[in-house]
Symmetry: D2
Subunit: 343 residues, 4 copies
């Protein structure tokens, strides 16, 4: 069975494993105040070309989202997201559990739109309603689409105008930054975002998300928040080491590029075979709409995920690749797929 179920099915890049093995018996200071974390932060700041930010390493995405958002909002403030936003659907109400409403706004292709934000803010006009105070976007989005520079600038502008913070969930930031049609680079991020994170879990690390706080107003006492929410890893250097390897050795973008290329190969080959798509992406997630009988046959050898029933006979499925996906597995899949379709 070969899995295209998600981008967290394997462990970590060999370089990371090597570094962890090597430093295993070295004594470190706890709670992320060690040399590995410091080095990793330095390496990330260099890539961001931005010195004046705070970086914190957290274990996972939900943890990062809830810690960042609850750190920023006052009790009556809310965060704006699109309906399909990870915090809205797939985190078991973790934001609400910290006391805050997720306000849904309109968007396109999984992306929040300026008009959506304006409308959402306008509807919340007085103290009988929550007060939107930040926007949450993810790049790449839940459905594999990406934000372009122009879009990010427009979001930044409307945030400035309306007094909102801009928070970017970068669980799949690598996939976004290495997409064929992408025009955003690492050194743009601190211009657009008040806070964002660089996802490690889905791009080469065993686990770990690097939260980057750009806006000075949001920096204070963030370590208290991490600890309170249960996110302060005792052996924090495990996070530091992983990001150190990814960024000092320049592995982050190539790992993501590898994943994108294999997924895009699958998408283009399927298209050639006449498959239509729930949405066409340029990243490591693709969403072909397949005949249910075909799906059943494919499932004997390949694992992938149901995305949405389209009608009685067809279903949109999600295939995901990662830094660890093997070219030969993609080739084998495409050969089998072609055989079954042409069958």
């Amino acid at each position: 069975m070969i899995s295209f179920r998600n981008d967290y099915s394997e462990g970590a890049c060999p370089e990371i494993i090597e570094a962890l093995v090597e430093s295993n018996m070295t004594q470190h200071v706890g709670y992320g105040e060690d040399e590995c974390c410091f080095a990793a932060k330095k390496a990330i700041k260099e890539v961001l070309e931005y010195e004046d930010c705070d970086i914190h390493f957290l274990v996972g995405g939900t943890q990062a989202n809830l810690t960042v958002i609850s750190s920023i909002l006052r009790p009556y403030e809310a965060v704006i997201a699109v309906d399909s936003g990870h915090i809205n659907v797939h985190e078991t109400g973790s934001i609400e559990a910290t006391g805050h409403k997720v306000v849904i706004a309109d968007g396109n292709d999984g992306k929040l739109s300026v008009e959506g934000i304006r409308k959402a803010v306008k509807k919340h006009e007085d103290e009988h309603m929550v007060k939107p105070a930040m926007i949450y976007i993810s790049n790449a989005t839940e459905i594999g689409t990406i934000y372009h520079k122009e879009e990010l600038q427009a979001l930044r502008d409307v945030c400035d105008e309306l007094g909102l913070y801009l928070f970017m969930d970068g669980a799949r930031l690598g996939a976004a930054l290495t997409a064929e049609d992408n025009d955003v680079e690492f050194d743009d991020l601190c211009k657009y975002c008040d806070v964002f994170y660089i996802g490690g879990t889905k791009n080469g690390a065993l686990f770990g998300e690097a939260v980057v706080i750009v806006n000075d107003d949001l920096k204070k006492n963030f370590r208290y928040m991490i600890k309170q929410r249960g996110g302060m890893l005792a052996k924090g250097w495990l996070l530091g080491t992983q990001f150190q390897v990814l960024f000092e050795q320049g592995l982050y973008l190539p790992s993501a590029k590898h994943a994108n290329e294999l997924a895009q190969k699958m998408q283009s080959e399927m298209k050639k075979l006449g498959v239509s798509f729930f949405i066409e992406t340029t990243t490591n997630q693709i969403f072909p709409i397949l005949d249910n009988q075909l799906i059943e046959k494919l499932q004997k050898d390949y694992a992938f995920q149901v995305w949405e029933e389209m009608d009685e006979h067809t279903t949109a499925m999600r295939f995901v690749t990662s830094w660890a996906t093997k070219q030969e597995d993609v080739d084998a899949f495409l050969a089998d797929f072609t055989k079954l379709v042409k069958g």
Copy 2:
């Protein structure tokens, strides 16, 4: 510099590292629903000699404490702990952040007493006060002491009588179960506790705590709680693999025993040299009261923690050993210590 600062300064047992390396490129199902987790649960249940419990693997102790406690209590209910309890002092109000008061009760030597519990419950008599609904103990305690069978039975009895759940934080459970004066075994735990956890972070693992839910009433939908609180590790098999190694290979207790023996060696040698102790323990934490000048000299080569100022001239310090502490480092320390004391 040799560190006796804590028991989470190094990585993991070589056997764990080996297993992680070996399975690094194997594809696993996410979120803890993989074969490694299943095997680890099986191995733990065998050691507990108790089949009918639910086991969940979480990354850290604060996360385990807040997830368990907030899963059990209704909004107006409170958890009883001793003043020095980890949840009361060292978790940045994580329990309160989930909405619940920690009610302080009397105890002895860091341990909760039956009288303390009775008094605390009695004081909370009506709806103008929180309602105590569970007790929190840690074994070993914050100050390295342990609960004996008789004490656990007495706590169980008073909990049954007063309608309280018994939750044991086992971040240092290994240290407790291998202490020289201990009479509690793994297969006793399910008799005494409604829920407890077996600490991996401080005893051989990179990270990880195995939460064991014994009481049927507390089992339902616990995975929702883990996800909501940000504790559901995407690559959950990393936790499973570690506990599988610890319990299938019988490493858990020996790792703890090693730590205890080295700390106890330090304690007994210091005693011979006339040192008095803040509290005498039988586990891997010791608390000598040292002259401040001596401390300063020791700190040139050794790291350890200030525990409490005793007077102008002396301070209680904490020295901690772990599964990873080397006999030769303890020997070196004791040689230097003896030299400095004898002057």
Copy 3:
């Protein structure tokens, strides 16, 4: 200036004022454990023809909603409501502030539909999403529509099938029960609802909502919840006295009927004049779509609320009547209105 802005612009029915004046210097037990509260509960139970329920008096609607909902849900559970539900829009995220998501479901005319509930539940399928555990409806709804017996039975059935609690916000229950097309009576409510409340604030009292808990599972320790959420009135007999008067003297339904009749008079007269409506109701709120110039002229002498812009030239407005609205004020308004429309 005559106000049709809302149904809480005046004080209380003369009978209530009289009772409060009369008992002003009588000494009462505090916190709602007084004879007036007991008598009021007895009177309400008689009207409900249901003995086996618990009744609690709270000061206001938001307070009642948040106390009831947070009392019932476990941390990861959510409440289902329509988009226009009061708890979703107009309570400043009070439900989320207690940790729970409000899941939006489809409905018609401000009312939750069975299909909407099914769809919402189906979408929340595992522990990565919140778990819907109750539905919230209000009767009358935010836009003045009411639930009929058949609809309530259908909601009850789907709740039983899917394991959901049914909570009815009755801030405007009087308006619903006395609407011309209503077929629900007080003695039906305990059959359909697990918990509901009978609104006093908008129907004759100075303030006060009587929460009725029907389902035994939801009764335990509710007074703890009231106290914790800040809703336990020291002089609780003020609430008891008011509900005692309303129900012992049979004032509740007539007060609401009065309000309905005047609003309906306004609606039918406007219709005769060719006015169209945002929605046609049978209760004390009406929503005429008026020309903006007409609105401006009316506002010189009458206060009422903007509901929704329809287009450049017209706006849906809300007019509300209450137990206190005077026939002569309605007559005066209609005369002026007619004059202005006929020009």
Copy 4:
């Protein structure tokens, strides 16, 4: 049966009742944005001799405490109080329910001490602990004692030094300001406090606490907090009217003085009869230690509260007077008491 059980056993001053009756059918704007509220605020500001503060009227004390405190603190911040503080014991964990720890500090006679604050702050030194950010005091305290100018100034100074806000619960502020040994006046309060409230419930009103926010940093969006926590009264003018009467007609302090005098009369007469006290006060609460047999006899005709068991034979009781307590009832009690004691 005559009750000395508490200071909220009766309704409101006749002047307040009169005003409520008079304005009963007047139409008001809702939610506290009416003329009565504006007038009341003006009257209070005059008495405070401080224009630049925000005033909000809430229904009750627990509501005021939880709304103020949760408005001010960031998630990891805590409030310091003495062990006997109302928020610590008698509000069912309402502060914790908003996510914040109440840190207990040492004090004397129910009053927080500067040393207690220093010690509490010193103990909370890093991100593994909550961060104390405000102090909570009540004046008069839970046990009827009061703060003098010198004490308030010392608290203010230590707050400024340590970066803490000072919040004064004034549920019994009247009793404090009219105590014989008091040297604090209304126009001092804004100098000492960042925020405080003036209690109406226990001093002449049916209900109501006037929250005064002095510190600019704490003013923003407070109405959002009130609404979210369920404290925004629809008919807000009921609160405005009551405070308007109390302050425009100068009833606040005289009402409290009346209560103090009667309680002090009881205390001094009891002392003459050889009674000892749990604590001697100068306000409207007194705490005689009485023989259990005597208590039993008194309870036939008088209601009062058990405070604390002293030994097998004696118990400290609490007697409370209010603006509504009648001289003749105190006289009757003292006559009976004397007879019983003298036997």
